[in-house]
């Protein structure tokens, strides 16, 4: 599909002026969350699949090609399989794929 883009009326400089502070805050909040986890268990590496996914997403922000960061992260956090579940295992999603029913070769 060829997107029919609406050009952003704001210049890059205007976007930075308008949105830098709130995004600076978001980065600091994520860093604080990871520090908090480290303080909770300073001697034990955390192997929670959601936190691993979060760390992977942070790495993707810097390594993804321009203008595809969000989609790359969304795909990384998604269940990549195609086979339906045979039975309901739980009622809701948790935010990252735990690899429990991987059907890929």
């Amino acid at each position: 599909m060829t997107p029919t883009s609406v050009t952003s009326p704001l210049t890059p400089a205007q976007l930075v002026d308008e949105y830098f502070i709130e995004n600076r805050n978001r980065v600091v909040e994520i860093a604080a969350f990871l520090d908090r986890l480290d303080r909770a268990a300073p001697d034990t590496p955390l192997d929670d699949f959601r936190v691993q996914a979060l760390r992977g997403a942070l790495a993707l922000i810097l390594s993804s090609p321009a203008a595809s960061r969000v989609t790359s992260i969304q795909m990384m956090l998604s269940d990549p399989t195609s086979r339906p579940l045979d039975a309901l295992d739980r009622k809701g999603a948790v935010g990252a794929y735990d690899g429990s029913h991987d059907d890929r070769p």
């Binding site: 599909m1 997107p3 029919t4 883009s5 609406v6 050009t7 952003s8 009326p9 704001l10 308008e18 949105y19 969000v70 989609t71 969304q74 795909m75 956090l77 998604s78 269940d79 990549p80 399989t81 195609s82 339906p84 579940l85 045979d86 039975a87 309901l88 295992d89 739980r90 009622k91 809701g92 999603a93 948790v94 935010g95 990252a96 794929y97």
Partner: protein
């Protein structure tokens, strides 16, 4: 600015929320049947809920000058229960002629189980048989990609249901393109934590353009905002988009989609957004 919220679970909101929506320009909303946060034990429980959506909520909305429409169906969260689902589906046709019922919804998948797919398929066949419009729920978070792909496969296997009469809701960056490229409408639902923020919704409008894209608050009993659409409008203005483009997304597009039902009446331009009760 006048707007239409195509996805608002007002049964879980207070009357004050109707007032806030009216004060911020909401002139019409549509309310899809959904999960109450707990599973109903009988099909009779769904009958009572459907009656609330057809009779009680329109009266509450009318007090504030807001038109209320609804979509009825077996929601994805309870659709794994095939016994109750089949009983609800057998009762559904009797309600489809009600004046404020626009079609079948919100239906679709939750954890993407075989039973959920069977119930979703049954409802899509029902919609095609009764020539109903459809509002599709796509799954949350890590289940969205897989669930959207399978739901689209089911829809495409039923060409009797025209794609232009189907709204695939809760689209995000990794699913919107596959929805639009098959001719369906894509809904962006604005949530404070999950799904789409106002800023990302504006990004998707900028990337794909406004055609066949709707935005909604999808307020429910969880963390959500009844005035999410006016906040989206504010974000569009913050990006310096024109009022013409904003109106297309929040009013003209929903009118275009919803007017495919002869029951939907376009809100009059001069109608006061709020009544004297506010």
């Amino acid at each position: 600015m006048r707007y239409i919220d195509h996805h608002a679970h007002m049964a879980s909101r207070t009357t004050d929320d109707y007032a806030q929506m009216a004060l911020t320009g909401c002139v019409a909303l549509t309310e899809p049947a959904f999960w109450a946060g707990w599973d109903r034990s009988t099909a009779d429980g769904f009958d009572d809920y459907f009656r609330q959506l057809m009779e009680f909520e329109p009266r509450r909305a009318a007090q504030y000058g807001v038109q209320h429409y609804t979509w009825l169906g077996m929601n994805p969260k309870e659709s794994d229960n095939r016994e109750i689902s089949l009983e609800v589906l057998a009762r559904l046709p009797q309600y489809l002629g009600h004046p404020n019922v626009l079609g079948i919804g919100e239906i679709g998948l939750n954890r993407v189980t075989r039973n959920e797919i069977a119930t979703c398929t049954d409802q899509i066949e029902l919609a095609a048989r009764y020539e109903q419009m459809v509002l599709i729920h796509t799954p949350h978070l890590e289940d969205k990609l897989k669930g959207t792909r399978i739901t689209l496969d089911v829809l495409l296997a039923h060409p009797a249901l025209p794609a232009g009469r189907v709204l695939v809701d809760h689209a995000e960056e990794h699913t919107i393109e596959m929805i639009l490229e098959h001719g369906f409408w894509a809904g962006l639902t604005l949530y404070p934590q999950t799904k789409v923020s106002a800023a990302r919704a504006v990004d998707m409008i900028e990337y794909y353009g406004p055609e066949r894209i709707l935005v909604a608050g999808a307020c429910d009993w969880g963390p959500s905002e009844p005035i999410a659409v006016p906040k989206f409008i504010a974000e569009m203005r913050r990006r310096r988009h024109t009022d013409e483009l904003i109106q297309r997304v929040v009013f003209d597009n929903p009118v275009q989609f919803l007017s495919q039902s002869p029951k939907f009446k376009v809100p009059a331009a001069t109608r006061a957004a709020a009544s004297a009760r506010i």
